[in-house]
């Protein structure tokens, strides 16, 4: 199905061009009609159904799921819907259970590191491990609340979260949690599973966004370039997803084969050297080059030629995403767990202290999490990146007195052929760690017991339980350490008119790439001594000329010759 992607994308563009022309022609026509019928008492109501999102070259599908007897219901729970799905899509369960949305596990082939949400520690809510009752709301399955979850039971797959389009479907924590938290999830209307089941379609942005826009515990908290602003974005926010533009669904780029998606933060293609490939190829990546090719700028000027040359060392994202956390939704850039746990009258509380671009208030303090700093329209950090992240996992030992720990350090350089200069979101956090052993810790945040941090606010007890549950060594002494995590920026691609200009980097002052090493960047770099000597020589010559001319002017006969 993905075989003719390149041709098809041209076809899509062509179709949109035609549609655009038709729309223009039609709007002209309606204007004439309106002008002629201005006395019409009640103009027809404008009906604007949301345009269909583009998920790939094929449109329309071959089945109307509202007509399937299997989906008439009634269903008591999501798992029953899944069983109905699997009764026709017989192989999908086996396909699905291999993907990372199900396993939450990924082993890095280069470093051998065990990665995946199931194991990792991040510098937001820190760890899902042991807190699945809460965190696995975003597991594409039903009921993962502890180690007892059966990862081989395909009836526990959650088809609806990705495929239902009513917008009424939601998920709740898989376990009760502390009463202090569970109140947040009370009083929701019951889900009409049959309606949801009959509404299935290819995943829309809202489906993926249900989790991916809310990573880190809230809208755009984690990624910075993935927020609810992308649910119905204007073209100016994202040139591919814009509803007034191409209106791509996520899977238009994150191409899918047997329910395995291209594009991964664990396995990043920092430089695609294959480009579009031939028809029938390139179903494996979500890189810009897989559609746009290796020479994406039209060579109609010297600048176009130079830009295509830049592809060697500059990731597309670097110029084409000048700022992230745009569209009115802020991202968290700094998190301080040291201040968590303050209570008023024994109860946790929260404070709002930031009003973001779209007018919404954001929490700047929560007893359960600490202090947050938000920012929007952020200029990324830039550095050479070869695509390889090396994680500080629960198994990594470090100097307990280290100033800073990189949750996911990365490498890259000018010399490395796989490296390019990439934009990053930099996330800084003060988070708990094992001061005695020099390791990060699993914190037991979510639970009904009296050690769960959320509700009891005892960090020491929460760490002790979080570590003990998984047989991990804990010295008994925790502290807080500064951590950094790096998020390659790849969404919120602007229309080309808003891309960076040459002078944003090639400038002596405030160059976007001021900190990037390993290159001689014309305009940014110079030999200071040469500039001083050269300027002195030119100025000295000019001064000499003035003196010479002065002597000529004032000497008795000099003015004649």
């Amino acid at each position: 199905m993905r075989g003719h992607r390149r041709l098809s994308s041209l076809r899509i563009i062509g179709r949109y061009a035609c549609a655009g022309l038709l729309a223009c022609a039609f709007s002209g026509f309606t204007q004439v009609v309106n002008a002629g019928a201005s006395s019409w008492p009640t103009p027809p109501a404008a009906s604007t159904p949301p345009p269909p999102q583009i998920s790939g070259p094929l449109q329309g599908g071959t089945a109307d799921h509202t007509k399937f007897a299997e989906l008439k219901g009634p269903f008591e729970n999501g798992s029953q819907v899944t069983q109905a799905c699997l009764s026709c899509h017989t192989e999908t369960g086996q396909h699905f259970m291999k993907n990372i949305h199900w396993t939450w596990s990924y082993q890095d082939k280069n470093t051998g590191q065990q990665l995946g949400k199931r194991y990792l520690i991040n510098n937001f809510c820190t760890n899902s491990r042991g807190n699945e009752g809460m965190c696995a709301q975003c597991h594409a399955g039903y009921g993962w609340k502890d180690e007892g979850f059966d990862f081989t039971d395909e009836t526990k797959i959650d088809c609806l979260v990705c495929h239902e389009t009513t917008g009424t479907y939601y998920k709740k924590p898989n376990s009760e949690g502390s009463p202090a938290c569970s109140v947040m999830f009370e009083g929701k209307p019951p889900i009409d599973f049959a309606a949801a089941a009959q509404s299935v379609d290819l995943p829309q942005r809202a489906n993926c966004g249900f989790c991916h826009f809310n990573g880190g515990g809230g809208d755009n908290v984690k990624h910075g370039d993935l927020s609810t602003a992308l649910t119905q974005p204007p073209r100016s926010l994202d040139v591919h997803m814009g509803v007034d533009g191409l209106n791509f669904a996520c899977t238009a780029c994150h191409v899918t084969n047997k329910h395995v998606w291209a594009g991964s933060r664990y396995q990043i293609v920092s430089k695609d050297t294959e480009g579009t490939g031939l028809p029938g190829q390139r179903t494996d990546v979500a890189t810009c080059e897989s559609c746009h090719g290796l020479a994406p700028h039209p060579v109609d000027s010297l600048a176009g030629f130079k830009l295509n040359d830049h592809v060697q060392s500059i990731a597309c994202q670097t110029c084409h995403i000048p700022e992230f956390a745009r569209g009115g939704v802020a991202t968290v850039i700094d998190w301080d767990w040291r201040t968590a746990g303050k209570t008023r009258d024994g109860e946790g509380y929260h404070e709002e202290g930031y009003i973001q671009g779209n007018g919404d208030h954001r929490y700047t303090y929560k007893s359960i999490k600490g202090d947050f700093v938000y920012d929007e329209n952020i200029i990324p950090e830039y550095d050479w990146f070869d695509g390889q992240m090396v994680y500080t996992t629960i198994d990594t030992q470090f100097d307990p007195n280290a100033k800073e720990i990189e949750i996911n350090g990365f490498s890259g350089s000018r010399e490395d052929k796989r490296s390019r200069i990439w934009p990053f979101k930099r996330m800084h956090t003060w988070q708990p760690y094992d001061k005695g052993n020099g390791t990060l810790v699993y914190t037991h945040l979510w639970g009904e017991d009296d050690t769960a941090y959320w509700g009891n606010y005892d960090m020491g007890a929460a760490i002790e339980k979080g570590m003990a549950d998984f047989g991990l060594d804990y010295s008994g002494e925790f502290g807080f350490i500064e951590t950094l995590s790096w998020w390659p920026i790849t969404h919120m691609v602007t229309p080309k008119e808003q891309a960076l200009a040459c002078g944003d980097c090639h400038t002596p002052k405030d160059s976007r790439l001021a900190e990037v090493k390993g290159v001689y960047l014309p305009g940014r770099d110079r030999n200071r001594w040469l500039d001083i000597i050269g300027t002195l020589i030119v100025a000295g010559t000019f001064g000499g000329i003035l003196i010479h001319a002065g002597i000529r002017f004032f000497s008795p006969k000099g003015s004649h010759h």
């Binding site: 130079k306 400038t507 002596p508 002052k509 050269g534 000329i545 010759h561």
Partner: protein, 217 residues
């Protein structure tokens, strides 16, 4: 020997001079802009103009070198020390006394020794330094994967910038020299009309009057 109005700068030579002047001015302005000394132009515009002007200048130079050798006029630039000290002494001292310039243009020697030496150095040192480094700069994309390419590029940029400072210095002196005679206009006009006062031998005069009367007034 007598002074005559003789055409010493052919049409091509004048075209060469003035188009070269224009291109060098463009290159200096855009080049120092690219270097970050001013912001009159966007980087993109400056690169485009700088590269376009440089390629045009290289083409012009290709024609001019061909012209120099096919017309034998390259011999005007052979360096000599004969009379060099006289010219140097004049600019350092005599000019303030109202002395007459010691050099008389000859038909096959239209530049004074200092001029000839200066232009020769421009042709064989400064210009090659700037165009060779410039082409290396421009074609960086072709050698960027060689070992230590960024360090080499830095060296190339250093040579290119140093040559640019030197050429700017030359331009200042060159233009100032035009003011040293009777008038600025008198110095510029030969490069406009082609005619200047030249000391002709009787044989040269006879030849010109008989065979190339349009070259002499």
């Amino acid at each position: 020997m007598a002074l005559h109005h003789v055409k010493i700068f052919s049409g091509f030579e004048r075209f060469w001079h003035w188009s070269q002047m224009l291109l060098i001015v463009i290159l200096l302005i855009t080049g120092f802009g690219l270097h970050g000394f001013h912001n009159l132009l966007s980087f993109e515009t400056a690169v485009t103009w700088h590269t376009g002007a440089a390629l045009a200048l290289l083409l012009l130079w290709a024609f001019s070198i061909f012209w120099l050798f096919t017309t034998r006029t390259w011999r005007h630039f052979i360096p000599t020390i004969t009379g060099l000290w006289g010219v140097l002494r004049y600019y350092a001292y005599g000019i303030f006394k109202g002395e007459r310039h010691p050099y008389r243009k000859a038909y096959w020697r239209k530049h004074n020794p200092l001029q000839a030496l200066a232009y020769l150095m421009l042709k064989i040192v400064l210009f090659p330094a700037i165009w060779i480094s410039g082409l290396a700069y421009l074609f960086y994309f072709a050698w960027r994967d060689l070992p230590d390419a960024p360090a080499w590029l830095e060296g190339v940029a250093l040579v290119h910038t140093a040559a640019a400072f030197a050429i700017l210095t030359f331009v200042f002196i060159h233009v100032y020299m035009l003011t040293t005679g009777h008038s600025f206009r008198e110095h510029v006009m030969p490069m406009v009309t082609g005619f200047d006062e030249v000391d002709l031998t009787p044989e040269e005069e006879a030849y010109l009057r008989k065979d190339e009367p349009e070259q002499i007034r």
